[in-house]
Subunit: 504 residues, 2 copies
């Protein structure tokens, strides 16, 4: 068969595999949004079956043979072509996945599905012991996965590589080291600053229905298309791009705090804009129809949440609207005070509600602990203790209860070890990308002030979204910004912002 | 391999196939409840893929061989055993399904998924032409399916057999003939009756949120367990039993009419009680873990909707509650007047909102037309005309617009030709079963008056639900009532009820 024919067959088969995978996305979304409690076991069976079938289809010898044929064909002659990128990244993924026995894949899917349900209950009951046996199973399976993949250095490398292809613990440590040092300095300055925002402004009564209307109008303004997406409510907000034409986001409403749902919605909408901007119509199922990495994904959510949503120009446009909607709580508030309040920096327990500066400490903490868990240096039963003592060291406050401690995130229940660092990588990338956007569109803040966000959205689509996984994160960063990953743009952005707000 | 081992393998494989099928149930439910418009194409691809995989798994030679081995084994010695029933009905289904090429199965799933979306739009726009090309495709595929199955007599027999195993057009005609004749007499008596209920009572303002609360409390009272189920909103109400532990129902609220959502909810809850009562934990994926037929299914929904929900004893208990909740619309109403209003008989356009008596005319009409469509005696373009003229003949009123005419039901868009008769079969069975229930539990109405519905529910579970598809409809009917299918119990029940209300 001619290489073009082989490539066509490969594309069709991958699309089919992608569609099967997208069924699991719908099931996973429904599990977290609407499913009644009693459906947990069946859902685990459904997801386990689909993941096993998906694995068998993708790792079938047929795909391996096609890829081998294509690797030495004319189609990869131009390494920058979409075809070459697709073949290269599929081969990389094939080599990895083929190392995993189907039983293990199915077991991971089933156990993590069950563990997520138990985690939800355990978190509500603040009961770690209830969750520990399930967590233990998930950790055992995760380590088995790392061993099956194989790794250089430590097992964590194998896991990280699933979410941030080509990035190693060493790369992460290099980026996080400078970040940690500079953050300590910044947070010290903030602590001793002469000015303090009045955060109580955003902690007044905010009617949930009105929050919903406002959040949806903001999401629509930045480009979230409700014809090809939905916004629902979940305990743990997330975005799921099912495939062409269907991308879902979720949030959670706190009637006594404006930030959570609003910035959460912008965050997830940022993820969704990435999913909606990938050319899935053409490339679904192939790397060019997927995101480049979770770090790049997070750079998009973080940019809309922070560089846009927590900027003065954004609120220049949206604050009068917010005042009209939340008249009782915001009617008498000045824009500058509101801007300060949404940017208040303060140690807090919950990662997803943290400010931009301390957020990264939450990640550093998790990165340390999960690395040690995977190395078996921390026992399951010791996780709460390890968490609490390290938390106090980083944040200077004591964890008051376990739902505010190591039970707060779904990730470990979901088997997502190696995932957390991508959040801070996303912060670093977002600052780099936004710097570049400002360079190329010097009037971007004036646009925000006029309520125009689509220029930025289109820029992101052109520079980042449309490429899918054609380039790896580091390469994409270089292509877009001309620079290597660095923590400096993020620190510069934060230092400028907070020095104005805190007056240091 | 010993027969017991073969049977065990068969059971495990069928459970797996059942779980795959249940993924499609979730996708189908989500398509109709929450999916954004843009997701239609992807959803069709997902459902098409799963149906193709499901078909290939179920019709694999392996299953055929296992069944052949088991058919001549000791396991079928006692024809009344669960094992014998499972083997017998699986073999029957295998023989049917194996005749369908996978391409056809996939095409039907995809085209009906798309056609349902178009139908929804066409119905809203009252535009038959918009829907006609899709309907034509669905009809072509449906006829191809009938031809692939093969049939005696006419192609409609092959289709009907999918929903009402073992029942033929001849059986249906025999039951419907007497029903038609007796209905004409009854409706004439009602038309000329001295008393008329005041239906305006149920056509006042009924706040949707309050309807929801009331409907959910009624559903819970008759045994719908919200821990293993949900009630959502859709254009066309339905029930979907995903599998063990998860059964969904939907309804639609009309702020100006109490009946639609209330009796719709009871109807779907009746279906759900059946699904919840089948021993799926043990038998999921095997016939004993499925319903016996759609007619039997409908007998359960109809019984809760009509024999219970439209009975005086039911309202003796629930009316004071309804009066408290809908104080403005019901505060000044007498129980007898309300009871008359929910039982008002009147020709109307919409089947799902029809009263108990005229309901069956809606089915007779559809049965005639779809039989002719499948025989190619009615062309697609002529469907609206055929509908309207027959409707006028049956109901004595002219169809005012096509959304109230042949575009009202989703069934044809969904490829469900041969499905409609099961609704009236369900009405016939429901009257027979309820007669028997009254015989065995003479105080059943007193129980209703005290708000006790679980005795009836448990009786149904014991007599009908728990058996799943161990017996075919006709046999089950005989086992429960000792009688053959007949239209007489239904006519007797209706005549008694309406003679009291209408005073003839």
């Amino acid at each position: 068969m001619a290489p073009k024919e082989v490539y066509k067959q490969l594309t069709a088969e991958c699309r089919k595999i992608g569609i099967l995978g997208s069924c699991a996305s719908v099931l996973g979304w429904e599990e977290r949004t609407y499913m009644p409690r009693g459906g947990r076991r069946l859902r685990a069976d459904q997801l386990g079956l689909i993941s096993a079938m998906h694995h068998e289809m993708f790792t079938s010898p047929k795909i391996g043979e096609w890829l081998s044929q294509l690797e030495s064909s004319d189609l990869v002659k131009d390494p920058d072509s979409i075809e070459a990128a697709n073949i290269r990244e599929l081969k990389w993924e094939y080599n990895k996945r083929a190392k995993l026995p189907t039983d293990l894949v199915e077991a991971i899917t089933k156990e993590t599905s069950i563990a997520q349900g138990i985690w939800q209950e355990a978190r509500a009951k603040k009961d770690f012991k209830m969750f520990a046996p399930n967590l233990e199973k998930v950790i055992d399976l995760t380590i088995q996965k790392a061993e099956a993949y194989g790794y250089e250095g430590e097992p964590y490398n194998a896991l990280l590589d699933d979410y941030e292809p080509g990035t190693t613990v060493k790369d992460v440590e290099a980026a996080f080291g400078g970040l940690r040092d500079d953050l300590v300095v910044l947070l010290d300055k903030i602590k001793g600053a002469p000015k303090k925002p009045d955060k109580s402004i955003v902690e007044r009564a905010y009617d949930v229905d009105k929050q919903k209307i406002f959040g949806e109008s903001v999401a629509a303004a930045i480009g979230f298309d409700f014809n090809i997406g939905r916004l629902d409510i979940t305990t743990h907000p997330f975005c799921s791009g099912f495939g062409p034409g269907d991308t879902r986001i979720t949030t959670r409403y706190n009637p006594d705090r404006l930030n959570d749902a609003l910035f959460g919605t912008m965050h997830e909408a940022g993820h969704a804009l990435y999913e909606m901007g990938i050319n899935k119509k053409e490339h679904f199922g192939m790397p060019a129809g997927e995101s480049a990495s979770l770090g790049i994904h997070e750079s998009q959510s973080r940019m809309w949440e922070n560089q846009v949503g927590r900027s003065k120009p954004f609120w220049n446009y949206f604050f009068p609207q917010a005042q009209r909607i939340f008249k009782e709580s915001l009617g008498d508030v000045k824009l500058d005070d509101f801007y300060g309040a949404v940017n208040n920096v303060e140690p807090s327990y919950i990662r997803v509600e943290a400010d931009e500066a301390t957020y990264n400490l939450h990640i550093l903490l998790r990165f340390e602990i999960e690395r040690a868990i995977v190395k078996r240096e921390i026992k399951i039963a010791d996780i709460p203790g390890e968490w609490d003592s390290r938390f106090e060291k980083y944040f200077g406050i004591k964890v008051d209860n376990i739902a505010n401690g190591c039970l707060q995130d779904v990730h470990w229940a979901a088997g997502l070890f190696g995932y957390f660092p991508t959040y801070s990588l996303g912060n670093l990338y977002s600052a780099m990308f936004f710097d570049q956007a400002k360079k190329e569109m010097p009037d971007i803040y004036e646009q925000f002030e006029r309520g125009e966000f689509l220029t930025l959205r289109n820029w992101l689509k052109e520079k980042i979204h449309q490429h899918g996984f054609r380039y790896r994160a580091a390469e994409l960063c270089k292509k877009v910004t001309g620079k290597e990953l660095s923590h400096k743009p993020l620190m510069k952005y934060m230092t400028e912002k907070y020095s104005e707000i805190y007056g240091f």
